[in-house]
Symmetry: none
Subunit: 136 residues, 2 copies
Protein backbone atom coordinates (compact mmCIF):
# COMPACT_ATOMS: atom_id res chain seq x y z
CA UNK A 1 0.00 0.00 0.00
CA UNK A 2 2.80 2.36 0.56
CA UNK A 3 5.99 2.97 -1.30
CA UNK A 4 6.83 -0.66 -1.00
CA UNK A 5 4.85 -3.83 -0.84
CA UNK A 6 5.40 -5.79 2.34
CA UNK A 7 5.14 -9.50 2.97
CA UNK A 8 2.17 -10.82 4.88
CA UNK A 9 4.17 -12.09 7.80
CA UNK A 10 5.01 -10.85 11.27
CA UNK A 11 7.18 -7.79 11.07
CA UNK A 12 10.39 -8.57 12.88
CA UNK A 13 11.59 -5.07 13.61
CA UNK A 14 10.04 -3.99 16.88
CA UNK A 15 9.98 -0.39 15.84
CA UNK A 16 8.39 -1.00 12.48
CA UNK A 17 5.90 -3.43 13.88
CA UNK A 18 4.74 -1.00 16.50
CA UNK A 19 4.49 1.78 13.97
CA UNK A 20 2.58 -0.36 11.53
CA UNK A 21 0.36 -1.56 14.33
CA UNK A 22 -0.70 1.92 15.31
CA UNK A 23 -1.34 2.94 11.75
CA UNK A 24 -3.30 -0.12 10.74
CA UNK A 25 -5.21 -0.27 13.99
CA UNK A 26 -6.41 3.21 13.23
CA UNK A 27 -7.30 2.26 9.68
CA UNK A 28 -9.12 -0.86 10.77
CA UNK A 29 -11.24 1.06 13.23
CA UNK A 30 -12.09 3.62 10.61
CA UNK A 31 -13.15 0.87 8.25
CA UNK A 32 -15.29 -0.63 10.98
CA UNK A 33 -16.89 2.72 11.54
CA UNK A 34 -17.50 3.19 7.83
CA UNK A 35 -19.08 -0.22 7.44
CA UNK A 36 -21.34 0.33 10.41
CA UNK A 37 -22.40 3.75 9.20
CA UNK A 38 -22.88 2.98 5.54
CA UNK A 39 -24.64 -0.31 5.98
CA UNK A 40 -26.47 0.23 9.24
CA UNK A 41 -24.96 -2.72 11.04
CA UNK A 42 -23.23 -3.35 14.33
CA UNK A 43 -19.53 -3.95 14.36
CA UNK A 44 -17.74 -4.96 17.53
CA UNK A 45 -14.02 -5.33 17.76
CA UNK A 46 -11.32 -6.01 20.30
CA UNK A 47 -7.67 -5.62 19.48
CA UNK A 48 -5.36 -7.15 22.07
CA UNK A 49 -1.61 -7.18 22.04
CA UNK A 50 0.43 -9.75 23.87
CA UNK A 51 2.11 -6.86 25.57
CA UNK A 52 0.43 -6.14 28.86
CA UNK A 53 1.69 -2.61 28.74
CA UNK A 54 -0.44 -1.86 25.74
CA UNK A 55 -4.12 -1.53 26.52
CA UNK A 56 -6.71 -3.32 24.50
CA UNK A 57 -8.39 -1.28 21.87
CA UNK A 58 -12.10 -1.66 21.44
CA UNK A 59 -14.81 -0.68 19.06
CA UNK A 60 -17.27 0.79 19.53
CA UNK A 61 -15.45 3.04 21.98
CA UNK A 62 -18.29 2.75 24.45
CA UNK A 63 -17.41 -0.40 26.35
CA UNK A 64 -20.96 -0.75 27.59
CA UNK A 65 -22.21 -0.95 24.08
CA UNK A 66 -19.48 -3.36 23.13
CA UNK A 67 -20.50 -5.57 26.03
CA UNK A 68 -24.10 -5.47 24.91
CA UNK A 69 -23.13 -6.55 21.43
CA UNK A 70 -20.94 -9.32 22.76
CA UNK A 71 -23.68 -10.58 25.02
CA UNK A 72 -26.08 -10.49 22.12
CA UNK A 73 -23.64 -12.51 20.08
CA UNK A 74 -23.16 -15.05 22.83
CA UNK A 75 -26.86 -15.44 23.28
CA UNK A 76 -27.43 -16.03 19.62
CA UNK A 77 -24.44 -18.25 19.25
CA UNK A 78 -24.76 -20.51 22.21
CA UNK A 79 -28.34 -20.82 23.38
CA UNK A 80 -27.02 -23.55 25.62
CA UNK A 81 -23.73 -22.02 26.32
CA UNK A 82 -21.03 -23.50 28.40
CA UNK A 83 -20.99 -20.62 30.78
CA UNK A 84 -24.65 -20.93 31.46
CA UNK A 85 -24.09 -24.52 32.38
CA UNK A 86 -21.14 -23.64 34.52
CA UNK A 87 -23.16 -20.99 36.25
CA UNK A 88 -25.82 -23.47 36.99
CA UNK A 89 -23.59 -26.08 38.53
CA UNK A 90 -21.06 -23.82 40.03
CA UNK A 91 -21.20 -22.39 43.46
CA UNK A 92 -22.43 -18.94 42.73
CA UNK A 93 -20.98 -17.23 45.70
CA UNK A 94 -17.50 -18.41 45.00
CA UNK A 95 -17.64 -17.27 41.44
CA UNK A 96 -18.78 -13.80 42.33
CA UNK A 97 -16.10 -13.43 44.94
CA UNK A 98 -13.53 -14.47 42.44
CA UNK A 99 -14.63 -11.89 39.96
CA UNK A 100 -14.73 -9.21 42.59
CA UNK A 101 -11.15 -9.82 43.49
CA UNK A 102 -10.13 -9.62 39.89
CA UNK A 103 -12.01 -6.39 39.43
CA UNK A 104 -10.31 -4.85 42.40
CA UNK A 105 -6.88 -5.86 41.34
CA UNK A 106 -6.17 -4.84 37.82
CA UNK A 107 -9.29 -4.65 35.76
CA UNK A 108 -10.19 -1.20 36.92
CA UNK A 109 -6.97 0.22 35.75
CA UNK A 110 -7.05 -1.68 32.49
CA UNK A 111 -10.44 -0.35 31.57
CA UNK A 112 -9.55 3.19 32.28
CA UNK A 113 -6.30 2.97 30.40
CA UNK A 114 -8.04 1.45 27.44
CA UNK A 115 -10.36 4.40 27.20
CA UNK A 116 -7.73 6.92 27.76
CA UNK A 117 -5.51 5.44 25.13
CA UNK A 118 -8.28 5.41 22.66
CA UNK A 119 -9.05 9.04 23.16
CA UNK A 120 -5.41 9.88 22.95
CA UNK A 121 -5.01 7.97 19.78
CA UNK A 122 -7.89 9.70 18.12
CA UNK A 123 -6.65 11.94 15.36
CA UNK A 124 -7.81 15.50 15.31
CA UNK A 125 -9.74 14.81 12.18
CA UNK A 126 -11.89 12.30 13.95
CA UNK A 127 -12.48 14.57 16.89
CA UNK A 128 -13.64 17.22 14.49
CA UNK A 129 -15.92 14.68 12.93
CA UNK A 130 -17.41 14.15 16.35
CA UNK A 131 -17.92 17.86 16.74
CA UNK A 132 -19.61 18.11 13.37
CA UNK A 133 -21.92 15.26 14.15
CA UNK A 134 -22.74 16.76 17.46
CA UNK A 135 -23.76 20.00 15.82
CA UNK A 136 -26.05 18.16 13.50
Amino acid sequence: MGRAKIAMEPITSDKKRKLTFNMRKQGLIKKAHDLATLCDVDVSMIISTNDQETPQQIFPPDSNQLNRLIDLYKHCTNPVNQYVLLDFFMDRKNKMEEELVKAKKKNVEAKYLSWFDFLDSLPEVRLREFALRLEK
Copy 2:
Protein backbone atom coordinates in the same frame (compact mmCIF):
# COMPACT_ATOMS: atom_id res chain seq x y z
CA MET B 1 -12.92 4.63 -3.28
CA GLY B 2 -14.44 3.44 -6.46
CA ARG B 3 -15.59 5.33 -9.46
CA ALA B 4 -17.43 7.75 -7.26
CA LYS B 5 -16.99 9.03 -3.79
CA ILE B 6 -19.89 8.25 -1.52
CA ALA B 7 -21.18 10.10 1.52
CA MET B 8 -20.56 8.64 4.93
CA GLU B 9 -24.17 8.02 5.75
CA PRO B 10 -26.49 5.05 5.64
CA ILE B 11 -27.01 3.94 2.07
CA THR B 12 -30.70 4.15 1.35
CA SER B 13 -30.92 1.81 -1.60
CA ASP B 14 -31.42 -1.67 -0.21
CA LYS B 15 -29.67 -3.22 -3.12
CA LYS B 16 -26.66 -0.96 -2.98
CA ARG B 17 -26.41 -1.22 0.77
CA LYS B 18 -26.38 -4.97 0.69
CA LEU B 19 -23.82 -5.01 -2.06
CA THR B 20 -21.61 -2.52 -0.28
CA PHE B 21 -22.03 -4.45 2.95
CA ASN B 22 -20.76 -7.67 1.48
CA MET B 23 -17.84 -5.98 -0.18
CA ARG B 24 -16.74 -3.94 2.81
CA LYS B 25 -17.35 -6.75 5.26
CA GLN B 26 -14.90 -8.82 3.32
CA GLY B 27 -12.44 -5.96 3.17
CA LEU B 28 -12.71 -5.32 6.89
CA ILE B 29 -12.04 -8.93 7.71
CA LYS B 30 -9.05 -8.97 5.43
CA LYS B 31 -7.69 -5.89 7.16
CA ALA B 32 -8.24 -7.51 10.53
CA HIS B 33 -6.38 -10.56 9.36
CA ASP B 34 -3.54 -8.45 7.99
CA LEU B 35 -3.19 -6.50 11.21
CA ALA B 36 -3.17 -9.68 13.27
CA THR B 37 -0.59 -11.31 11.04
CA LEU B 38 1.74 -8.38 10.50
CA CYS B 39 1.74 -7.14 14.07
CA ASP B 40 1.31 -10.41 15.91
CA VAL B 41 -1.76 -9.30 17.82
CA ASP B 42 -5.21 -10.71 18.45
CA VAL B 43 -8.13 -9.18 16.66
CA SER B 44 -11.67 -10.25 17.43
CA MET B 45 -14.66 -8.99 15.54
CA ILE B 46 -18.37 -9.53 15.30
CA ILE B 47 -20.43 -8.02 12.53
CA SER B 48 -24.15 -8.19 13.17
CA THR B 49 -26.92 -6.99 10.92
CA ASN B 50 -30.36 -6.14 12.16
CA ASP B 51 -31.62 -8.55 9.58
CA GLN B 52 -32.19 -11.94 11.11
CA GLU B 53 -31.76 -13.56 7.76
CA THR B 54 -28.19 -12.46 7.53
CA PRO B 55 -25.81 -14.42 9.70
CA GLN B 56 -23.32 -12.72 11.97
CA GLN B 57 -19.85 -12.58 10.63
CA ILE B 58 -17.02 -13.27 13.03
CA PHE B 59 -13.28 -13.06 13.18
CA PRO B 60 -11.33 -15.11 13.80
CA PRO B 61 -13.40 -17.68 11.91
CA ASP B 62 -12.93 -20.17 14.70
CA SER B 63 -15.72 -19.33 17.13
CA ASN B 64 -13.93 -21.09 19.95
CA GLN B 65 -10.99 -18.84 19.56
CA LEU B 66 -13.22 -15.81 19.33
CA ASN B 67 -14.90 -16.82 22.56
CA ARG B 68 -11.54 -17.22 24.22
CA LEU B 69 -10.52 -13.74 23.17
CA ILE B 70 -13.79 -12.27 24.34
CA ASP B 71 -13.46 -13.97 27.70
CA LEU B 72 -9.95 -12.64 27.98
CA TYR B 73 -11.23 -9.18 27.27
CA LYS B 74 -13.99 -9.50 29.84
CA HIS B 75 -11.52 -10.61 32.44
CA CYS B 76 -9.59 -7.44 31.94
CA THR B 77 -12.57 -5.18 31.83
CA ASN B 78 -15.12 -6.03 34.40
CA PRO B 79 -18.01 -3.64 34.66
CA VAL B 80 -16.94 -0.86 36.96
CA ASN B 81 -18.82 2.30 37.55
CA GLN B 82 -17.09 5.09 35.80
CA TYR B 83 -17.47 7.55 38.62
CA VAL B 84 -15.89 5.11 40.96
CA LEU B 85 -13.19 4.67 38.44
CA LEU B 86 -12.55 8.37 38.16
CA ASP B 87 -12.60 8.79 41.91
CA PHE B 88 -10.07 6.09 42.26
CA PHE B 89 -7.61 7.78 40.03
CA MET B 90 -8.22 11.24 41.37
CA ASP B 91 -7.65 10.16 44.93
CA ARG B 92 -4.55 8.41 43.96
CA LYS B 93 -3.02 10.95 41.67
CA ASN B 94 -4.19 14.47 42.09
CA LYS B 95 -1.83 15.56 39.42
CA MET B 96 -3.92 13.76 36.90
CA GLU B 97 -7.10 15.45 37.92
CA GLU B 98 -7.17 17.86 35.03
CA GLU B 99 -6.50 15.22 32.50
CA LEU B 100 -9.15 13.03 33.94
CA VAL B 101 -11.73 15.74 33.61
CA LYS B 102 -10.75 16.22 30.01
CA ALA B 103 -10.92 12.52 29.39
CA LYS B 104 -14.30 12.32 30.97
CA LYS B 105 -15.52 15.18 28.85
CA LYS B 106 -14.32 13.55 25.67
CA ASN B 107 -15.69 10.28 26.87
CA VAL B 108 -19.16 11.70 27.25
CA GLU B 109 -18.91 13.32 23.86
CA ALA B 110 -17.95 10.09 22.23
CA LYS B 111 -20.72 8.24 23.96
CA TYR B 112 -23.26 10.75 22.87
CA LEU B 113 -22.05 10.35 19.37
CA SER B 114 -22.10 6.61 19.56
CA TRP B 115 -22.88 6.57 15.92
CA PHE B 116 -24.36 3.21 15.32
CA ASP B 117 -26.55 3.04 18.31
CA PHE B 118 -29.31 1.49 16.35
CA LEU B 119 -30.18 -0.35 19.49
CA ASP B 120 -30.88 -3.95 19.79
CA SER B 121 -30.48 -6.23 16.88
CA LEU B 122 -31.33 -9.86 17.00
CA PRO B 123 -29.14 -11.40 14.38
CA GLU B 124 -29.05 -15.10 13.83
CA VAL B 125 -25.83 -16.97 13.90
CA ARG B 126 -24.74 -19.23 11.13
CA LEU B 127 -21.16 -20.24 11.46
CA ARG B 128 -21.52 -22.37 8.39
CA GLU B 129 -20.83 -19.34 6.30
CA PHE B 130 -17.33 -19.33 7.63
CA ALA B 131 -16.84 -22.92 6.80
CA LEU B 132 -17.88 -22.14 3.27
CA ARG B 133 -15.55 -19.19 3.10
CA LEU B 134 -12.71 -21.29 4.34
CA GLU B 135 -13.32 -23.92 1.75
CA LYS B 136 -13.17 -21.32 -0.94
